[in-house]
Amino acid sequence: MNRIHKKYFNNSGRNIFVHLVLILISFVMLVPLYWLVKTSLTGENIYIYPPSLIPKNPNLYNFVDVYYWIPFARYFLNSTIVSVIVVISNIIFNSMAGFALCRSFPGKKAIILVYLGSIMIPFQTTIIPAFLITKRLGLLNTHLGMALPLFSIIICIFVFKNSFEAIPSSLIDSARIDGLPDWKMIYKITLPLSKPAIATNVILSFLYSWNSFLWPLIIIRDRNMQTLPLGLSRFFSYFEQSSGQIYAFSILVVAPVILVFLLSQKSFIGSMLSGAVKG
């Protein structure tokens, strides 16, 4: 793969061009983020004209305020618990479903339609019945209740499916001849060969549950059970006007996601490039 693309852009002039384009893209991506970080360090009013490019008297006070104005550690723990449940269940359920979808079986088309249809229903619009059902289940005010609607993110099933389809069927057939049961096959053969898909699953499911807002808003009443995004609304009460703290808070919320991304990207995608797919 790499070798091929190396040939695409085999001289250094091309390489410099690629870097230039990427630097330009990075610049566009980073400018709004730079303002976010800058404001979190100074708390200045962004509507002051002309805009100042360099932060004046940067400090970390806004981050300190974030820590004190909400029970940050508690919310962080709640968010983490929910996200871990979601990530694990997503890998288990989605890899199973993805594996199944690679094979043909009666009713497969219908199931795909159900999946696609399910994504199509905006969660905002089905939130009331979902809430009533969760109440029936006795899961209001629990971590499990928060995690349940995100137990399997449909997009991720298709990520697995796409990845599993790329695995040579000869590999699976030979394993079947060896008498390996299906669940072992998922665990032993297909999953290890689908590291990018696992990485995508981890990143996505973590992200969705970490940022999920409307659902926890409705099913959580206990203050000790709140998650980080819910903390944001407490911020609005304190700091709606001085946005420094809001930005500091969003940076603290996003930091774990970025961390998970960086770590999983390097260890999954990175190892993939060393030639994990063997024919």
Binding site: Y115, M120, L148, E165, T200, P229, L232
Partner: protein, 286 residues
Amino acid sequence: MEYDLPVPCVFAVYRIIPMFWNLLLSFKKWNFLSANIWVGLKNYNMMIKDPVFWESFRNTVIYFAAGSPTAIIFAILMALLVNQNIRGRNTYRSIIFLPYPLTTVAIGIIWKWLYNEKVGLINYVLRSLGIIDKNIPFLDSFNWALPSVIITSIWQVVGFFMIIILTGLQSIPEQLYEAAELDGASPRKRFYYITLPLLKPSIFLCFIIGIINSFTMFDLVYVMTNGGPGHSTEILVSYIYKNAFTFSRIGYAAAITVFLFLFLLFITSIVNKFSGEEAGGVNYYE
């Protein structure tokens, strides 16, 4: 296939049962408290006559039709760039992905300022460079508001699409390229005949996510414009939400939901067909 069972169960509880409930509600009048009154097709009738509904519908379609393909094309280009063996490609990947996980509220506030007519950075830069001589009221005009919001959403989502495409790129077996090379296919041909077809599942996924985004970017719309000016940035889901929770017209909101569901199912089946059925599944070993 027994491995497929647990997932539909979760969906049954959280998506499918609620959807039927919604269907039932769309024939009723309800406001969380009063008794359910059966009103027949009145809600649907009201919907057809409601100009705001049609405007939101149009916006949703524009949002999807303009936003998703643009984002996907950018994402493919970026993925090809960062898939090369160049220095610092992990850094580039991370930077491009960075906006996606950010809290929408924070993004909304920053972009609102970027777009500001009088003191915003975009106008400031454009004017300093001499590209424009009169400031553009991005969010404060009927013509610019929707494109502006779409651009922001592309900015946020493109890194995520890139990751999905990248995952797809890396599952393409190297032998295919080697074989093509032996056959003497040019790089361009290799891209059109190997990379692109085999990326189909990933592109399909991006489209699906694009469809979802065209109605879940509702918090971004809420923060940036709250649907205005007029209803020029209102999308169906924000209108549904407004009707349900602000106007307390649950039955009406349910009717729009049913319409939206059917419409999106239609779109998805088209996308599915174009991507070769089975959710873009490809089996190149056949």
